[in-house]
């Protein structure tokens, strides 16, 4: 057995999984506060990447400036989405809310390429394309930085829930009525969580946009992200970290060995199996709370 091959698949898979975690983080942040599984998170990642490209690639601003603009823009976008769309859905069946996020996903997927051009855009962060080589193991620098940012963002999210505002969000996620009764503005808390999901989308959009260019296909990151949140638990930040690693590593190692035998295509099978088996045998995921109602 080629140990270097296994190590390389594992490391690159783990880093990729942490980058999936950036997308999953947005879904969990919203679910924790409002109980809404946001199926538009992949499209938000794409819009965030377009925003960075507009400011950096199109207007020629430094990447740091583009990032700041995108963070602010996507935070406002998230809050606005909650205010204009989600708040109107209070009291509606959860399935309708899910359908709304699906509609939003479809709208954004058409709108971004429609307004800014559909050809893939270049998002150059200046990361050296040459890998870090350790023995016979090649480590992708973009994945290394992306994975580090993923871990950092997950750490920041964990820290955030220890702050005053984060504690309010936790209270809201526990019980809306009780939160209202002690003076917490549930609407504002939910809006903030949407805003933070927008910020997570910027991190995901920039790193994945750097890897593959910016176009509609960024929206397809929703699929592995959904596997991450289902495995980790829809309301668990810890779960994003652990499940991100599991989904990333399995999605790299299994195809690395099985694809040559069956002619390819096993990574999506692995991701699908993770979703199916988790729902069948541990519906609340590894770290999720059992009382979570599934849709």
């Amino acid at each position: 057995m080629d140990i270097a091959f296994l190590i390389e698949l594992t490391i690159n898979g783990a880093l990729t999984g942490l980058m999936y975690g950036l997308v999953a983080l947005g879904i969990v942040l919203i679910y924790k506060s409002s109980g809404v599984p946001n199926l538009a998170q992949g499209a938000m990642v794409m819009i965030a990447a377009y925003l960075v490209w507009m400011v950096a690639g199109w207007l020629g601003a430094p990447v740091v400036v583009a990032l700041l603009v995108a963070v602010l823009g996507m935070f406002l976008f998230g809050m606005l989405t909650e205010r204009v769309l989600l708040r109107r859905m209070v009291g509606q069946p959860i399935i309708m809310v899910v359908m709304l996020t699906l509609g939003l996903e479809s709208l954004l997927r058409g709108l971004g390429p429609g307004l800014l051009g559909a050809a893939p855009k270049s998002l150059d962060l200046g990361i050296d394309m040459m890998p870090i080589i350790v023995g016979d193991v090649f480590i992708n620098r973009e994945y290394l930085i992306g994975g580090a940012i993923g871990a950092l963002m997950i750490g920041l999210a964990l820290f955030f829930f220890r702050t005053r505002l984060g504690t309010k969000l936790l209270a809201v996620s526990d019980d809306h009525v009780s939160s209202w009764s002690v003076g917490i503005s549930v609407e504002r808390a939910v809006a903030v969580s949407w805003g933070l999901a927008g910020v997570a989308a910027v991190a995901a959009g920039v790193m994945w946009g750097s890897v593959q260019g910016v176009d509609w296909s960024l929206t397809t990151l929703l699929f592995p992200a959904v596997a991450v949140v289902i495995l980790g638990g829809l309301d668990s930040i810890h779960g994003v970290l652990v499940a991100g690693l599991v989904v990333g590593i399995l999605g790299s190692v299994v195809p690395g060995y099985v694809d040559p035998l069956v002619g390819g295509g096993t990574r999506d099978v692995v991701t699908s199996l993770i979703i199916l088996l988790t729902i069948l045998f541990r519906p609340h995921g590894i770290f999720g709370r059992e009382e979570i109602e599934r849709v």
């Binding site: 690159n12 390429p113 307004l115 051009g117 040459m130 090649f138 176009d215 002619g263």
Partner: protein, 415 residues
């Protein structure tokens, strides 16, 4: 602000009226071509430029008086790569009198095959759709009109054999998207491997190709002499990046037709030396592109951003309409107006050695061959442009036609 596909699409819709509105086009019954394409989903990396080239060429034809006085109208609609929307748009276009349809989408064109055969409407499927539609007797109203993926694979293999030190004893990796399109070249390459004594190994990556690292770790360990990449859109950029990261030199990367200027811009200096199959010459120096610039774009009649004019995908769009208009011209001259799908089909089958003034290889069609000979060439990205490194050629058509016959027989048998 940059024009986008949205403005392009609006301009496209104006094409409905453009033919009749042009003063120098006599008031004869228009010839209608339906360009029902994917502007919003999977083929977006290509559609804008391709469709712009098609419309600009038709505007050039109209600016020159149309086809024997018949204006040519483009019916442009978005299908979002969805067969049901494509069929709906096709039915409307057929009701509007379209005699030709171009879906620029393999799923949609495959879904429409039986309808166009029944309705006797010509469907062109350049660089997409089913390769076995080259079999004119089985698919009388379908025209792939450019080299199938089988022919493209054959041309790239032939280039390795004749220009890169031969195929015998070499290791060739085919790194492809895991889809029927990605797997399409495999049988031709396997036959060539047996014939020339080289080793072929296929490596699939999952669609849409945004993450390919595990695949390329395996490719690197295979230590291929040459690598063929077979994908489209952003997946192609990822393939080149991963190849470079894994120590494969750009000179050893050869691509299917779907690699263009936008990809090179994204990859920068790392792209220099990468080669691709080419069906149509890119650039602005070609007479027909110059004519579009002078007689359409310079007069403010262009259908999209001027910077697209002359790009690879733009010129492919121009080439498709140049062939279609030539077929319509021949049909009108031979059979007279009104132009029907059946007359247009026969017009296509009369085309012989047509190259649109050097825009593409000389294409000839017949009742048997709807591929047009399977020509193409190899070009190399030199850091600023695609530069041809071979002449137009058509190779291993015996192997290609074995595949065409086999699949066409399957279609006839209902498989």
């Amino acid at each position: 602000m940059k024009k986008t596909w949205l403005s392009g699409l609006l301009g496209a819709c104006s094409a409905l009226a453009l033919g009749a509105s042009l003063a120098n086009v006599p008031d004869k019954e228009p010839v209608r071509f339906a360009l029902l394409q994917d502007f919003t989903a999977v083929y977006t990396f290509l559609t804008n430029e391709y469709n712009q080239g098609q419309q600009d060429y038709l505007r050039l034809v109209n600016a020159r008086g149309g086809l024997d006085g018949h204006p040519v109208e483009a019916l442009v609609r978005d299908t979002a790569n969805e067969p049901q929307r494509g069929i709906e748009a096709y039915n409307r276009a057929r009701g509007d009198g379209a005699v030709l349809v171009d879906f620029l989408s393999t799923p949609v064109s495959r879904a429409a095959v039986n309808r166009v055969l029944e309705d006797e409407v010509v469907m062109i499927t350049p660089l997409h759709g089913r390769g076995d539609a080259s079999h004119g007797e089985t698919f009388p109203f379908v025209f792939p009109m450019m080299a199938t993926y089988w022919s493209q694979a054959a041309i790239l293999a032939d280039y390795i054999d004749t220009e890169l030190g031969g195929l015998a004893g070499k290791r060739i990796a085919l790194v492809h998207i895991d889809s029927p399109f990605g797997r399409e070249p495999v049988p031709v390459l396997e036959t060539l491997a047996a014939r020339h004594g080289f080793e072929l190994r296929a490596f699939a990556y999952p669609s849409p190709g945004t993450e390919q690292s595990a695949t390329w770790s395996d490719v690197r360990r295979y230590r291929p002499d040459q690598v063929l990449i077979w994908g489209a859109g952003s997946g192609q950029q990822v393939s080149v990046r991963e190849a470079i990261r894994n120590g494969i030199r750009p000179e050893h990367i050869l691509s299917v037709v779907w690699l263009a200027e936008a990809d090179a811009e994204h990859l920068g200096k790392h792209m220099t030396g990468v080669k691709r199959y080419e069906a149509v010459a890119p650039g602005r120096e070609l007479p027909v592109i110059q004519a579009i610039l002078d007689e359409v774009v310079a007069k403010g009649e262009g259908s999209g951003p001027e910077e697209n004019v002359g790009s690879s995908y733009y010129n492919i769009g121009v080439a498709t309409m140049a062939v279609a208009v030539e077929a319509a011209r021949l049909a009108l001259a031979e059979y007279g107006a009104p132009l029907t799908g059946d007359k247009l089909r026969r017009g296509f089958e009369q085309i012989s050695n047509f190259d649109a003034e050097g825009l593409m290889p000389p294409l000839s069609f017949s009742a048997t061959d709807h591929q047009g000979g399977g020509f193409g060439r190899v070009s190399r990205w030199d850091g600023g442009a695609w530069v041809p490194v071979t002449e137009w050629r058509s190779v291993y058509q015996d192997i290609v036609w074995d595949e065409i016959e086999k699949d066409a027989a399957g279609f006839r048998d209902g498989r």
